[in-house]
Amino acid sequence: MIEHILSILIFFPLVAGVLGFMVNKDSIRAYGIAVSGIEFALSLLLWYVFDTANGGFQFTELMPLIPAFGINYQLGIDGISLFIVIMSTLITFLGILSLTEKRDIKNLIITLLALEMTMVGVFVSLDAILFYVFWELSLVPMLYIIGAWGGPKRIYASVKFFLYTFTCSLVMLVGMIFMAYLYQQATGQWSFSITEWYRVVLPMNLQMWLFAAFFLGFAIKVPMFPFHTWLPYAHGQAPTIGSVILAAVLLKMGTYGFVRLSLPLFPDATVWFIPVVVTLALIMIVYTAMVANAQKDIKQVIAYSSVSHMGVIILGTFALNIEGISGSVFLMLGHGIVSGALFLLVGVIYDRRHTKIMTEFGGLASIMPAYATIFGIMMMASVGLPLTINFVGEFLSLMGIFKVAPMYALVGGLAIIVGAIYMLSAFKKVFFGNVTNPENEKLKDVNRTELYGLIPLTIIAIWLGIYPKPILDPIDAAVRENVLNIMYQKIQTDMGTEAARELITDPYAKKPEIVIPAPTKKHATQSHKSEGGHH
């Protein structure tokens, strides 16, 4: 059974969700908690049986679906996808556990389970068509969640979300079909298998076109500047649970796509596009942080801050060294935990006051001390305080991009300043000062249901900040094997460009460990240093 654990992980929530229609309305909550709890436990089991030292794909499953076109049901997991899957199941579980929504809860829980299936599906698929199917399917439950449980402008927001992402994903699909066609031209057989594609070395001009096509699909999902405007609407209208999952998991599909597909498939194009992508990411970091600073609605602050943080993830990914990519994958997890928690926290006051405008609050620290404490911790995690989860990823990402060009790190590093500005001023508006609004005087502190979601996230945010090793090690192995090694091998062929060879080094090269300093003090080591690099 264990060899089919990935299939079980995908389809268990779906089957359970369908069965959920037969469950009594009063017990659907317990049912939802049980199902998502089992799913989460299964994902933990997957971690337990996962060989963390192995950087390759594990628990692979292969079953032909449409052999004529090389479309297979191919699954597999490595250190990169493993933890994103665990995060998806965790966030879903905690989301359902701390659900305070009252309206039509049965359909909501079933929708969430369906959404869980698509999320897990995206991250474990090793077939492009399968990946694409789950990718697009994930839009449907989210569309429904925003459209049915959202705020007053929910229809506009959900349609915008759907059409925008869907349209650009179609471009990605064209790219995928073209890639399979190229494979067919070279080998005589169609294949959509990502692991097969990893073996294909493409000439530069084709890489460029394909990179661009994939980029459009991923960039909108991330969402990268200037494709980000659907996100504030979606967050603004979505119910708390929708925002939590959207920010924590759905956005990660985009950055995951870069790491899983763009980088290893098109290494030279990736290097060529670095200035473009990094510039967009830098704009994204600073510009959206400033937009966040101008918001009056606390949920919009968090929404824009999400975009800003995703910019740092992009920086790490396009650093194209182990430190940067591992850091960016780790930051995906960190951002998932922290932004998920922040959206849950915003939901707490929205439930009580039905407003998210910051000037309506003020002085909450004395009325809701526990709430203020958790919010404070999560805020500090969000601004990347050392010993919280986000610091590890942010530090590594910035350090990685520093190697590409110090200027990128300097500008990208502004994230830690501008992030502190909007976060601290938002915190000040909501929690500090005197209680001026009489409506706030009687507010109740966080209740038990809310704590079910918040406490575990707080613990994780600190635990992984202090001890990231159990997660960073497998990520490191996978980044070497499934990203950088593939890129490195490809650029060593005749097709590889000089620029790429300069930037991407052999991930398995051993660094000399013992260095004996030269006897004379200055200028003796220029040559020594360059030899110390990678061969």
Partner: protein, 631 residues
């Protein structure tokens, strides 16, 4: 002995977490006592370690891996050596005193427990900062003390000015922290390591330009934490926090972290004297710049804060000129007498219902004799009179500048010494002597609780004896790690002229302060003058920052938001509208009328056929066409 390293480090954390558990509950004296006890434990452990270090042992423990990926590997590692143990002693001594004192000072505060949770957390962060064996570990403490400082400045969070100052401090420090991160990145990618040991082993053979970059960026980081110009405005505003916080964080420990960083990285800074001279020059400038602002200020705590800033400048002069042990020695001496001065100011504030303007006090020496004595002695130490601590540590910095051949730095520092004596005693005279002006304002001052005074006494003793008892032994110990240098002026005549001359000059400054302020007379004409206003308004720098940075940033933020709505998003919607509009117009084609639809079908068919014919024509006759085009 490794056990003691962990005890020294983690005892404050235990105290903090315990106090945090009771954070939201009613005041409990036990919380304060327990936290202080934990601090005392940490102090004892540090003392035992100091004894070991004096015997020539050093300790290096690695607790566990922290971040490891690629070639990057940073553990939680801690070092107790001659330099870090100095800081451990300073931190634990001052913080134990401040904790005990705060039990009395925060007596009436409803957030008593929360206060101790924050204060002990600060000490823990500070211990990480000084004990860590690598730069990233230092950065944990660096940011940790930043957060604790944020929490403590804004401790009375209902006050707008307090929360504003807290945010200002945090954000300004963050600016410097970015520079520090860049410094760390530079060192990592060039040397392949960020542990002190690794850096020191490879730094001698590294590229000089790279070292200059790294040293400069690390120093910018230090400038933020040590509030050097132009990142200095937060320190004076930080006085919004409770006074024990000012004593511990914003005088004795956290703000000296920048000096500590330069001292700790001495093998790096030794190789880049050009950066060192910039550090020293900036230090001398800040020493004078801050002292001038202290001359006219009317806020007791701010005066002491500017004095701190000025003394930090002195330390940077020493560190920049390569006299690391002198910088560290002054850091230590300064911690003792400055903390004492602040705690004394706390007593005064308690007595005066939190009044801060010394012009509303006067004659407090009578009801508050002990505070008067302590603050006077602390001021004597600060002014650098023989034989108190400041004489030994501060005059040494003057000698360093003189011996090093930097007459300008020396002159600036000497003048600043006069200013220091003037503003310190202006404060003492205004508060404690002369007419009892407080009666006009209806205050009923009283001396602080006895145990608060007793708690302060160790600092008093240290402020007096640090100079003449520790200097020799300290030099012996710390130069095992830091470059030795006696900085003696060999010509005895010059030496005596200088020493006595400095003493006379400083004495004259005190005398001038007495003449000027014994009656607390205010000269209206001087006050209206340009220079007075310039100094009183802190050279208008806070205002300039507000106009040049804060407001434009807020405006720009709003503009960005507008841009986001009106340009970026409107483009997306515009594209969608084009499709939608086209569909709106064309859907009338499908009106269900058979004849009109047949007509459209015919048009479509014709269009298709025409296109097909053209394309087939092109492909079939491609060669002919090419020939025609001349290929």
């Amino acid at each position: 002995m490794e056990m003691f390293v962990y005890i020294a480090l983690f005892a404050p954390l235990v105290g903090s977490l315990t106090a945090g558990l009771f954070g939201a509950q009613k005041k409990s004296l036990m919380v304060g006592v327990f936290a202080s006890g934990m601090l005392f434990t940490s102090f004892i452990a540090s003392l035992l370690l100091l004894v070991q270090v004096l015997q020539g042992h050093t300790f290096h423990v690695e607790m566990m891996t922290w971040i490891k990926t690629g070639d990057f590997n940073v553990p939680f590692g801690f070092v107790v050596n001659e330099v870090s143990v100095t800081m451990m002693m300073v931190v634990t001594t001052v913080s134990t005193v401040v904790h005990v004192y705060a039990i009395g000072y925060m007596d009436h505060d409803k957030s008593f427990n929360r206060f101790f949770a924050y204060l002990s957390a600060f000490v823990f962060s500070m211990m990480i900062l000084v004990m860590s064996d690598n730069l990233l570990g230092l950065f944990i403490g660096w940011e940790g003390v930043g957060v604790c400082s944020w929490l403590l400045i804004g401790f009375w969070y209902h006050k707008e000015s307090a929360t504003w100052a807290a945010n200002e401090a945090f954000i300004m420090n963050r600016i410097a922290d970015l520079a520090m991160l860049v410094g760390i990145f530079t060192l990592y990618w060039n040397l392949g390591t960020i542990s002190y040991e690794g850096i020191f082993a490879t730094v001698g053979t590294a590229d000089h330009g790279m070292l200059v970059t790294a040293a400069a960026f690390l120093f910018v980081g230090a400038m933020g934490k040590s509030a050097q110009f132009p990142l200095h405005t937060w320190l004076a505003d930080a006085m919004e926090g409770p006074t024990p916080v000012s004593a511990l964080i914003h005088a004795a420990t956290m703000v000296t972290a920048g000096v500590y960083l330069v001292v700790r990285m001495n093998p790096l800074y030794d190789l880049v004297p050009e950066v060192g001279i910039v550090i020293a020059s900036l230090g001398a400038f800040v020493a004078m710049f801050a002292a001038t602002m202290a001359l006219v200020n009317r806020d007791m705590k701010r005066i002491i804060a500017y004095s701190t800033l000025s003394q930090l400048g002195y330390m940077f002069v020493a560190a920049g000129l390569g006299a690391y042990w002198v910088a560290l020695f002054h850091l230590m001496a300064h911690a003792f007498f400055k903390a004492l001065l602040f705690l004394g100011a706390g007593n005064v504030m308690h007595a005066m219902s939190d009044e801060l303007d010394p012009f509303k006090m006067g004659g407090l020496g009578k009801p508050m004799m002990w505070t008067f004595i302590m603050m006077t002695l602390a001021s004597i130490a600060l002014a650098g009179f023989f034989p108190l601590a400041g004489f030994f540590s501060k005059d040494l910095i003057l000698e360093v500048a003189f011996v090093g051949g930097h007459p300008i730095l020396y002159t600036v520092l000497l003048l600043t010494a006069g200013l220091t004596a003037f503003y310190s005693f202006r404060l003492v005279f205004l508060i404690f002597t002369g007419e009892e002006r407080y009666k006009l304002f209806g205050f009923h001052p009283h001396e602080a609780y006895k145990y608060m005074l007793i708690a302060m006494s160790p600092l008093l003793v240290l402020a007096i004896i640090t100079g003449f008892t520790f200097k020799g032994g300290y030099y012996e110990m710390v130069t095992a790690l830091l470059p030795a240098g006696e900085y003696h002026i060999h010509n005895p005549i010059v030496y005596w002229i200088m020493t006595i001359g400095t003493q006379l000059f400083v004495g004259a400054a005190v005398l001038y302060a007495w003449i000027k302020y014994k009656n607390a007379k205010v000269d209206k004409k001087v006050e209206a003058g340009f220079f007075y206003q310039l100094l009183f308004n802190q050279y208008y720098i806070p205002k300039i920052y507000d106009e040049v940075f804060s407001k434009p940033y807020a405006e720009l933020s709003k503009m960005c938001w507008k841009l986001d709505n009106t340009v970026v998003d409107a483009t997306v919607d515009g594209i969608a509208h084009v499709f939608y509009g086209t569909a709106e117009k064309t859907h009338t084609m499908q009106d269900g009328n058979l004849s009109s639809m047949l007509r459209w079908m015919v048009i479509g068919l014709v269009a298709l056929i025409v296109t097909a014919v053209i394309f087939i024509g092109i492909t079939v006759n491609a060669d002919a066409i090419m020939k025609l085009l001349g290929h």
